[in-house]
């Protein structure tokens, strides 16, 4: 199944496993801006109509099996954008297939055992892996990291605050989606629904910022969830403590038109605030502000966002330059997220989350605990 002309040897070939809205609205538009270094050559999706449609718009081959894509010698870099439960196996298979680099959408595994297996295969094969935590590749974040000096040593408070419109608002600004699936509503007073919302919120949304949080929490392994509750129709309020650092996570995906994605790290006499641009649209980088008493240093905005930053990094790695994130970093990021997700959901079991305090009007509106939050 090929519609692609002869691949250019000067370009690195990209193959994508999973052709849903994230691939269509995030990765393909980012890759379209990097046509001088990367070329999409193979799209795989279990839905052949979606695979054919998405591949057709970029002149790539398409298939419905991972094996076929991995066997494609024109593919140098594999991006894994499939449902979470397939990530670990597909990362391992891509490494074993001898590809030059792998991008795995977050989370790259669903438990510590999977993460360890991935780490071992990456070490054995030497294939570099990047996890799609796009904010860690955002030029605004990277500029702040280069300028903040001793800030991490003094930070005592971290806040991640996310307010986002429903994904389709920005997906439709980015591309023309095929195969969008409507999500069923569910009972927001059902404890299992609340647990799923908290887990999904952490692993699908907060996870973008948790690697950033971890930069300021040396005692991340000791993280404790002190409070967790949901925000309707989708979101969370989670209070954490890791050593001496207070961590507050807030998120709401409502029907607003105005996105606001803020990250703050605050110490006694210095503070960082980063305003991230919305996902899906090519709206440039975050803007970072480092404040001390009487002085504010502004960094950015720059011309591309973290998703494009991921692809630039992958091209470097596949070309044999650049340093990938260490396996230890990726594993610790994952363990941190999993610990928070599990403990937040555990607050429901211990009765710390009030599952019944909702007025009839709100309850009737339902909620979407498993909604796509690949922001």
């Amino acid at each position: 199944m090929s519609s692609q002309a002869q691949a250019s040897p000067a370009l690195l070939g990209v193959g994508i496993l999973g052709a849903g809205p994230v691939t269509q609205a995030i990765h393909l538009p980012s890759l379209a801006r990097l046509g001088n270094i990367l070329e999409v050559r193979h799209i795989m999706d279990v839905d052949p109509a979606v695979a054919a449609s998405v591949a057709g718009r970029v002149g790539a081959r398409f298939s419905t099996s991972m094996e076929e894509l991995l066997a494609d010698t024109a593919v140098d870099i594999v991006a894994i954008c499939s449902p979470h439960q397939f990530h670990a196996a597909q990362v391992i298979a891509a490494c074993r297939a001898g590809k030059k680099a792998v991008l795995c959408e977050k989370p790259f595994a669903m438990n510590g055992e999977e993460a360890a297996a991935i780490s071992a295969v990456s070490a054995e094969t030497g294939v570099p892996i990047i996890v799609g935590a796009m904010h860690t590749f955002d030029p605004g974040w990277l500029a702040a990291e280069g300028a903040w000096g001793d800030l991490p040593e003094q930070v005592h408070t971290v806040r991640s605050s996310i307010v986002l419109p429903p994904n389709p608002r920005f997906e439709d600004f980015a591309t023309e989606i095929v195969g969008r699936v409507s999500l069923p509503s569910s009972d927001p007073t059902d404890p299992e629904v609340i647990k799923a919302m908290l887990t999904g919120g952490v692993m699908g949304l907060a996870i973008h910022d948790l690697p950033l949080v971890r930069r300021f929490t040396p005692d991340f392994a000791d993280v404790e969830v002190l409070h967790a509750e949901i925000v309707r129709p989708f979101g969370y309020v989670i209070s954490l403590r890791a050593g001496n650092v207070t961590i507050e996570l807030r998120a709401a995906m409502n029907a607003t038109w105005e996105p606001a994605w803020e990250f703050e790290a605050i110490g006694d006499d210095a503070a960082l605030k980063i305003d991230f641009t919305p996902s899906y649209v090519q709206a440039g980088s975050a803007t970072a502000r480092i404040r001390t008493a009487g002085r504010t240093t502004v960094l950015g905005p720059f011309g591309h966002n973290g998703y494009e930053g991921e692809w630039r990094k992958l091209a470097e790695l596949a070309g044999g330059t650049g340093q990938p994130p260490s396996a230890e970093t990726l594993i610790h990021d994952l363990e941190f997220a999993l610990a928070i997700a599990e403990a937040a959901a555990g607050q429901v079991d211990t009765g710390r989350v009030d599952t019944g305090r909702v007025d009839a009007g709100s309850a009737a509106s339902g909620t979407t605990e498993d909604q796509e939050v690949n922001a």
């Binding site: 309020v237 001496n244 507050e248 006499d269």
Partner: protein, 280 residues
């Protein structure tokens, strides 16, 4: 014609409320009582019309003493959590007005007369999905004092918070959880840092937008920022370049001129009740 009232402030009250600068900015309404002796030695017959009182511990006693000495009006700057019940009785008996000069709750943007601001807040509360508030204080601030100021903002905004619970508290601040009457979660945070201005923010997220109030440090006449986001767009309300200190002094003059009693102390009792639930 504006009645000019005399003002006395001891050094602590002066420091707490920038009284000289404020009085100088209201020259028709107020005049310094002169290089008077300390309030305790001022005879009742020659008592200043208004006495400024610092809000540090013991302010209710000091305010009551000033009332007993004949002050018609009292302005308390930065009152800490302290039961005002006895002071209410003393002030009512003497017909005196007590105004609390609170750094954020006292901002002109939140004055009862600002119908546009209160309208924005009320509309957002009707459809709230989350209330998130952050108060910034300088290191060394007693978290209980910061919490008192933060609750004062919520009460002044007309926001009733229920089921308050201290989630965490340490030398760098605190986190408090609660709920609105609708069941929507409330998250309050106090943070101590010298890197950020001493502001208080209240963000009410709704099903389709939000309302935000950011209240400035009264050290200067920075305006509060009030902004609403609805389906129709975003609206920023007009800015008011007046510090909460000056607003408080204008209020005490207004109450004395009109004879309309102030409700500050009663409202402070509500604040105290919330603080006590968390710190007792």
């Amino acid at each position: 014609m504006t009645t000019q009232l005399s003002v006395y402030a001891d050094p602590q009250a002066e420091a707490a409320g920038a009284v000289s600068a404020v009085v100088a900015s209201l020259p028709l309404s107020f005049a310094p009582a002169g290089p008077a002796a300390p309030a305790a030695s001022v005879p009742a017959a020659s008592a200043p019309d208004i006495t400024a009182v610092s809000g540090h511990a013991g302010w209710t006693e000091r305010a009551a003493a000033a009332v007993r000495k004949g002050a018609k009006g009292i302005v308390v700057s930065g009152p800490v959590a302290e039961d005002p019940a006895a002071l209410i009785g003393v002030a009512e008996a003497a017909g005196s007005v007590v105004v609390l000069d609170q750094p954020w709750a006292g901002n002109l943007a939140l004055a009862g007369s600002r119908e546009n601001v209160h309208g924005v807040i009320a509309a957002a509360l009707e459809d709230a999905v989350l209330l998130d508030s952050v108060a910034i204080g300088v290191p060394g601030t007693d978290p209980r004092d910061l919490l008192t100021e933060q609750f004062s903002v919520l009460v002044q905004c007309g926001i009733a918070v229920q089921n308050v619970r201290m989630v965490q508290r340490n030398a760098n601040g605190y986190t408090v959880a609660g709920v609105l009457a609708s069941g929507a979660p409330v998250a309050l945070q106090g943070i101590l840092t010298s890197a950020l201005p001493a502001t208080a923010s209240v963000s009410i997220l709704t099903s389709t937008g939000r309302a935000d109030v950011v209240l400035p440090d009264p050290a200067a006449a920075w305006p509060a920022v009030v902004r609403a986001v609805t389906k129709e767009g975003a609206t920023a309300l007009p800015t008011l370049y007046e510090s909460s200190h000056r607003t408080s002094w204008s209020r005490v003059h207004s109450h004395l001129s009109s004879g309309i009693p102030a409700t500050d102390l009663v409202q402070f009792s509500t604040v105290l009740s919330l603080v006590s639930q968390l710190t007792s």
